[in-house]
């Protein structure tokens, strides 16, 4: 899929995301001396942001609910995702995860 947004909205997104990301990065470096660290409740919530966000990004790419359970499970994307998760768990290496995941995806795509 490709975007149908024109150059203007795309550049606007780039600049706004860039500016807001910078504001997040600069926040406490700028505020230092005025506040003492992250409020404890916010810090607790922030601890779970990476796991929750990354899982929300990953899961829909591997699990695509089909009308039947068999069709959902026999999906090359799910198969490759499970294999890649095993590689990521044992090696903690992004490159190895990428290579094994892509090769499994291509192989499973021709078999399943």
């Amino acid at each position: 899929m490709t975007t149908t947004y024109g150059p203007l909205p795309v550049w606007a997104v780039i600049l706004v995301v860039g500016a807001l990301t910078f504001a997040i990065r600069y926040s406490f470096i700028y505020l230092l001396g005025r506040v003492s660290g992250v409020p404890p409740r916010l810090e607790r919530a922030l601890r779970y942001v990476p796991a929750a966000v990354l899982a929300a990004l990953v899961a829909p790419a591997f699990v695509d609910p089909a009308p039947t359970a068999a069709a959902t499970l026999l999906d090359p994307r799910l198969f490759a995702g499970v294999v890649a998760a095993g590689v990521a768990w044992t090696t903690e290496n992004m490159f190895a995860t990428l290579v094994v995941g892509m090769v499994t995806f291509w192989t499973a795509g021709t078999v399943l």
């Binding site: 150059p7 600049l15 995301v17 470096i29 779970y48 609910p65 990521a88």
Partner: protein, 246 residues
């Protein structure tokens, strides 16, 4: 001959083991951006301005699906919120910097540059001069030494440069690889390899399970809100489980 500040090259060197992760990630960022219909200039601009891989991939993914622009921006911001923790943690070491420099250092703050720097600042093995001693520039102890700051700048600036080069190569590759190869599948694989090391302890595992499940259930929701809904539900679940376990 101009001299390189003490610590700068040590910082650059400290990034080398991480390049095996950074370079393929940057390649995918470039490929995914052109695949999503961004121009080469936009793809490189995204890497140069945002410089945060996971949020860049989510941004181009949502743009490709023609999601509402507010949702695109909000999702990227939620993904990058974790950096406020790094900002708070590293701030004391940047306190004696001039404002312009502290803004530049903040711009270069990423998961990787934070991890490298905080290990060095808090007295890792390679910490030769020791943070407890007064720094040569007159700063004292935990405010961070000049060497520490150059170390951070060396590491962070070098990673920014490598990120841009990897993106450019990815843009060139992305334009020449046929779509039938399905290289966009590399994007969730990158997220997966970032997710797995996060899964330590019950609250984080529950946060991931709930986040992923809600995102799958919400895949068809309008405005691509499934991703944000999943992220939010996952964070709430993690906090709740932590409260119960405590």
């Amino acid at each position: 001959m101009p001299t390189v500040p003490d610590g700068f090259l040590d910082g650059v060197r400290a990034t080398l083991p991480l390049l095996l992760g950074l370079i393929p990630f940057g390649l995918v960022a470039g490929v995914a951006a052109v695949d999503a219909g961004l121009s080469p200039a936009q793809a490189v601009g995204l890497s140069a301005v945002v410089f945060a891989g996971a949020s860049q991939l989510a941004t181009v993914d949502l743009l490709a699906q023609d999601a509402a622009l507010a949702v695109v921006v909000l999702t990227a911001v939620v993904i990058n919120l974790r950096m406020s923790m790094y900002s708070a943690s590293i701030a004391p070491y940047f306190e004696s910097l001039r404002r312009r420099w502290s803004a530049l250092y903040a711009f270069l703050l990423t998961d990787m540059s934070y991890a490298i720097a905080i290990g060095e600042f808090t007295g890792g093995e390679g910490d030769a001069d020791g943070d407890d001693a007064p720094a040569p520039n007159g700063g004292v102890g935990d405010d961070g030494t000049a060497r520490d700051r150059w170390y951070y700048f060396g590491a962070a600036a070098f990673m920014w440069l490598v990120w841009q080069l990897a993106t450019v190569v990815g843009v060139v590759l992305g334009a020449s690889v046929p779509e039938s190869w399905g290289v966009s599948f590399a994007v969730p694989l990158v997220f997966l390899s970032l997710l797995v090391p996060e899964l330590s302890g019950r609250p984080r595992i529950v946060a991931a399970l709930i986040g992923g499940s809600v995102a799958v259930a919400g895949a068809g929701w309008p405005l691509n809100l499934g991703l944000l809904g999943g992220a939010l539900a996952g964070v709430v679940a993690g906090v709740v489980v932590e409260g119960r376990d405590a």
